[in-house]
Amino acid sequence: MKSPILQSASRYLLPILLLFSVFLLLRGHYYPGGGFVGGLVAAIAFVLHSFAFGTAESMKMLKYKPSAIIPVGLIVAAIAMFLPVLFGLPVMTGLWIEEPIPVVGMIGSALLFDIGVYLVVIGVVLTILFTISLETH
């Protein structure tokens, strides 16, 4: 499926889609979106790239194996989960930075948790699809 049109299109689509996925992730607390959706969109971006250039190429571009993203995401989520314990609060209590940040809004441990979810979803989806794809080609 190495058509030049798809290749050049996906070359530009990849960063746009990734940006969109981050956008979905960050605004998830206020508008439809969030870690799951953002992660899935990001995964689709990479899958599109792999359709255009081949999975091996996408893997090369990622530098890291997608399966390595999973534990990172889990750790980030776990940190968000246990961060309140350091402040003497129960696990999973929401912590917030006082001043809102433009575009993103309030920043707190919930966002950190969502980032963890985002990473795990990307990692899981890409691990599954890339493993299968590499196996069959």
Partner: protein, 118 residues
Amino acid sequence: MELLLVFLIGALYASGVYLILRRSMVRLLLGIILLGNGTNILIFLLGTITKGKPPVMAANLEVFEDIYADPIPQALILTAIVISFGLTSFAIVLLKRVYALLGTDDLDTLNTPQEEDI
């Protein structure tokens, strides 16, 4: 509209059950996906469906002023959709594996397992 959804649920369940009773593994998998969809809609229906009122507050408000769609079934279904992807992918790979070993997707060839088939 609810009645249409009720009918739809029935159709999804019936077709799902019919498909999982087939001999083909692919059909079994499709049946499971249909059953999952049916369940999602069932949960969705139970939370009383609402038109045009997503459970998202307007930017200038801090509490809802109007009725809004029930967020709990939505959160449940969102989880279910994502998990079902995990299930489907695992099942597909399993199917592929079985096919690679036995050269068929006929479930009936699986019922006499032998040491070397595992």
